[in-house]
């Protein structure tokens, strides 16, 4: 039997998917053990026990100075920035992308501008954002917006253009106005694609969030990682990275479920 026709069974599929994770953990434990045997004060690869202590300290013990649970306040601060930023970007992406794709005059005016502006590397204008918006929440949210909105605008514009010509003609023969066609024909078909676009841009959004928090912030997941970097606290950095990865995965999963729940016709 050819290799391309061999498939794992149900148990095999789960086992083979879990294997790389287990292997990575085993490699870490072995390497950490070897380093700690040579130097018990090694900070680079802390043991799982040390990491567990750090998690216990950050997540389940109130901070001695502020009384906060550090991990949860960091998570709340970061998620708030991320969701506000991505939410604004999604709304702007729709508000610009739909008319850009649907209305020749509107698109003729704005589309080339959007295309040009989307080439600006957002991190390069981060200093400008700090100068203009100060170093408060606004600059950090704006970085996420400026980083993800251009992609969403262009993506939505493209999705609108991909709608079959026949559909728009048909809607006109049913006497729909431009507005009615935008609201009843174009927008609902573009919404699940917007959700897909947001899923794709979440990676970038996390990047911009952590960059902004690393440079100017007093809380947040990115802030904490860059703060404890000074003390080489790998026992904090590693669980924080794992936690961010888990959050990103859960967000992506939630959006995928949302699409399947709200738009059963999508992808059929």
């Amino acid at each position: 039997m050819r290799v391309l026709n061999r498939r794992p069974g149900n148990v095999g599929a789960v086992a083979s998917a879990a294997m790389p994770f287990v292997l990575a953990l085993v490699v870490y434990v072995v390497a950490s053990g070897a380093r700690l045997a040579e130097n018990p004060d090694d900070k680079l690869l802390p043991s799982l026990v040390t990491i567990g202590d750090a998690i216990e300290r950050l997540a389940f013990t109130p901070d001695r100075r502020t009384g906060d649970y550090v991990l949860w306040t960091d998570t709340a601060a970061s998620l708030k920035r991320l969701l506000i930023g991505v939410g604004i970007a999604a709304v702007v992406g729709l508000a610009v992308g739909v008319p850009n794709g649907l209305l020749p005059w509107f698109g003729g005016f704005w589309s080339p501008w959007v295309r040009a502006m989307s080439m600006i590397p957002p991190l390069a204008i981060l200093p400008i954002l700090f100068i203009v918006f100060g170093i408060g929440e606004l600059a950090k949210v704006m970085l996420i917006v400026l980083g993800t909105a251009p992609f969403l605008m262009r993506d939505i514009e493209q999705r609108v253009r991909e709608l079959p010509r026949e559909q728009l003609v048909k809607a006109q023969t049913l006497d729909g106005t431009t507005w009615q066609i935008a609201v009843r024909v174009v927008l609902p078909q573009v919404l699940p694609r917007l959700v897909d676009g947001v899923r794709l841009s979440l990676g970038g959004a996390w990047l911009f969030l952590i960059a902004a928090e690393a440079i100017a912030s007093t809380d947040g997941l990115g802030y904490r990682i860059f703060l404890v970097r000074r003390y080489l606290s790998m026992d904090v950095i590693l669980p924080y990275v794992a936690w961010i990865t888990l959050l990103a995965f859960l967000l992506d999963y939630a959006l995928r479920r949302l699409n399947r729940r709200c738009f059963p016709w999508y992808g059929a």
Binding site: P164, R165, E166, Q167, V169, K170, A171, Q172, T173, L174, D175, G176, T177, W179, Q180, V183, R184, V185, P188, Q189, F263, P264, W265, Y266, A268
Partner: protein
């Protein structure tokens, strides 16, 4: 006076002549079928009647008024594909035309008005035999059912002219025969004027009351795009005594192998 009056219409695309000097008068309730080789401007002609394409030269009048180059509600259309909206259920697709007319802002109706619209839409679905699939999405329907839905969706707004662009081209022969019956009945019941493009000459003869053949009367072999197509045959079909021989004749002329 004729319902549709096409006078000396030309269409050129950047040096390529698609249609030249098309003339046609059609009366109310006619069922005009259009045949011709691929790329001979049949669809361009239909898109002109639709208002989607503007002629370079010449005049199209409908009901004595010059055609505004934009699709309007007096001309319904069914394409071969993409005629229905994938994000709406079968019922939602049929409701759309009614809701467009009643709600300028949202394009949706609620409460008693919606109930009344649903009743009308369900009656139309019943007419085309889709009532049991009212809550399905188009992707769950077969090709023939999708075209039935497209017809119901178009006819709910009561257009006087129905334009069909190879609506049954992708269907199996058996289902196509059912669709022929449906279209013939709807044409008679609703007093429609129908223009239908088809690849299938026998379909053109059996279904229509009049058959148009689009072809290029002149052909420059060194520059095939120089001259465009026009209506080369305009045949009344009803009770044609010898349909078979006319079909054979046309097949030979159009290079169709039988």
């Amino acid at each position: 006076m004729s319902l549709i009056d096409v006078r000396g219409v030309w269409k050129r695309y950047s040096g390529k002549t698609v249609l030249e000097n098309v003339r046609l008068k059609a009366d109310e309730h006619e069922f005009v079928t259009i045949v011709g080789a691929s790329g001979c401007g049949k669809t361009t002609f239909l898109r002109m009647l639709l208002g989607e394409v503007e002629p370079c030269q010449g005049v199209i009048e409908i009901g004595g008024k010059r055609l505004v180059p934009e699709p309007r509600a007096d001309r319904g259309v069914v394409f071969q594909r993409y005629s229905v909206f994938p994000h709406l259920t079968v019922l939602g697709n049929v409701l759309l035309g009614l809701e467009f007319a009643e709600s300028r802002l949202l394009g949706r109706t609620f409460g008693r008005r919606r109930t009344r619209n649903v009743e009308r839409a369900e009656a139309m679905l019943d007419r085309v035999g889709l009532l049991t699939s009212a809550t399905s999405y188009p992707s769950e329907l077969s090709g023939g059912m999708q075209q039935r839905l497209a017809l119901a969706q178009t006819l709910i707004t009561e257009p006087s002219i129905l334009l069909l662009d190879e609506p049954f081209g992708a269907l199996d022969p058996g289902i196509r025969a059912d669709m022929h019956d449906l279209v013939r009945e709807l044409h008679r019941e609703l007093g429609l004027t129908v223009f239908m493009i088809t690849h299938d000459i026998s379909e053109g003869f059996s279904l229509g009351s009049r058959l148009l053949v689009f072809d290029k009367p002149r052909l420059d072999p060194h520059e095939p795009d120089l001259y465009g197509a026009t209506i080369t045959f305009d045949l009344p079909v009803r009770e044609s005594p010898d349909v078979e021989s006319v079909v054979d004749d046309l097949n030979v002329k159009n290079g169709v192998r039988t």
